[in-house]
């Protein structure tokens, strides 16, 4: 009997402690920000000692419209900065997930994605998209004539908005890569 009382008392204490911890976790989650890569870190990995140049792509009004149509991203800014060494380009791009911006690094080469990483994640949930098993689905993706990714990307339950954002950013990066290639600068994708 005494053992039962002790157990119940401890259970009550544990429940209270769990509730306090849960509340603390929730309050932290609401402002959480995880930085997985710095620009120097990702540049060093991508370019592997090769010297890269920081470049700027100035956006035209038609390009902004195309980005809206293909990637469903409204580009308000006049320019996008990127890093290039040979044919390899590193794009640092952000878009809102559900409520907060997620920043990605996308490495493109010859209009294919070579690598895609989550650099900064601020949402309360959905950071499974940064796992290598998931980002691997974006490797070798290209942009079809319809403005879609060439292969299917699986969804993640509970990370729907983050997955959508990642797909949008992938499409945008491929579009940007197309624009900086002199031969394809005027190609319009997915025009109706």
């Amino acid at each position: 009997m005494a053992l039962l009382f002790t157990l119940l008392r401890n259970l009550r204490g544990l429940t209270t402690l769990s509730l306090i911890l849960f509340c603390l976790l929730c309050s932290n989650l609401s402002r959480a920000q995880s930085v997985y890569y710095s620009i120097e870190g990702i540049s060093a990995e991508v370019f592997n000692g090769m010297s890269s140049n920081a470049k700027t792509l100035w956006l035209q009004a038609e390009q902004k419209q195309e980005a809206q149509r293909v990637a469903n991203i409204e580009l308000r800014q006049a320019r996008i900065k990127y890093w290039q060494a040979g044919d390899t380009c590193l794009w640092i791009l952000s878009d809102i997930g559900k409520e907060r911006p997620i920043t990605f690094a996308v490495v493109t080469r010859a209009q294919k994605i070579e690598r895609m990483e989550v650099m900064v994640f601020r949402e309360a949930r959905g950071d499974e998209i940064r796992l290598p098993a998931y980002t691997a689905q974006f490797v070798d993706q290209t942009l079809t004539d319809d403005g879609e990714l060439s292969r299917h990307v699986d969804g993640i339950s509970g990370a729907t908005y983050s997955v959508r954002t990642m797909k949008r950013i992938a499409r945008l990066a491929l579009l940007l890569d197309r624009w900086i290639m002199p031969n394809n600068a005027s190609t319009v994708v997915g025009a109706e």
Binding site: V35, A54, Q77, A78, R79, S94, P101, V120
Partner: protein, 242 residues
């Protein structure tokens, strides 16, 4: 003779009392009539915006802040930062603003906006890359932007390499722009808390007039009672005499 003197005294104080309580009685009467028709007038769905009417609720109403510039007010509305009514970009919370001769930097909590001198958005910058915790203010000097963190240290920003360098001397940095309360001309619908119903209820009870408002309305009610009784007395004593 005694009755006549009493009637004269009542008559004189009836006039004085009526005048003294007039303002409060008018206020209570008008607010009471309006409250009787709360449903028809939809008083609980509309919100007054006049700062004169809202003065007792200043602490309860969220005062939005913004930054005054030579071209207008910078402020955040619906997760967007605006220059008066022109949308500049996404922003969850405005922290600061600084300008050099050629460029301007708008610091929001989760995104920085680099603009040129005619307010065209040039670039979006992720503040996470600068690894600065809790930015307190932003300034500029010698054509560079600098931010001050909670510890009081200033960091000069390199927007080419996305890096921040700790400044040993920050005396060349000036902070001309500060967050202040938005004027009603910009923030015309700031009150979404106090409805007309609540305002009229508080006016009716006297709470709108502050700490002693309820007592003032009580006093007006007593005067009103006196007016009723003295009015009756004057009327019936005159009728009895005639």
């Amino acid at each position: 003779m005694k009755g006549r003197r009493l009637r004269f005294w009542l008559y004189r104080w009836h006039r004085r009392g009526g005048l003294a309580a007039a303002v409060i009685i008018i206020l209570v009467t008008v607010s009471g009539i309006a409250l009787n028709h709360t449903g028809d007038l939809e008083l609980d769905s509309y919100y007054p915006q006049s700062s004169l009417l809202l003065w007792p609720y200043e602490s309860a109403i969220e005062i939005r802040q913004g930054i005054s510039t030579k071209d207008g007010w910078l402020h955040v509305f619906n997760q967007q930062v605006l220059l008066d009514a022109k949308v500049l970009g996404e922003c969850s919370r405005l922290i600061g603003f600084a300008s050099t001769d050629r460029e301007m930097l708008l610091v929001c909590e989760e995104q920085w906006l680099l603009l040129n001198s005619d307010w065209t958005l040039l670039e979006l910058i992720d503040p996470a890359f600068f690894q600065l915790e809790h930015i307190k203010s932003i300034g500029s000097g010698e054509q560079r932007f600098a931010v001050q963190v909670d510890s009081g240290h200033w960091y000069v920003l390199d927007l080419e390499t996305y890096s921040a360098l700790l400044l040993s001397k920050a005396d060349f940095i000036s902070v001309p722009y500060e967050l202040t309360s938005l004027p009603l001309s910009v923030d015309s619908s700031r009150n979404k808390t106090i409805s007309w119903q609540r305002l009229l209820l508080d006016m009716h009870s006297g709470r709108w007039l502050g700490k002693y408002g309820v007592w003032l309305v009580d006093l007006a009610a007593i005067i009103l009672l006196f007016l009723a009784l003295s009015g009756c007395w004057i009327w019936f004593s005159k009728a009895r005499k005639s």
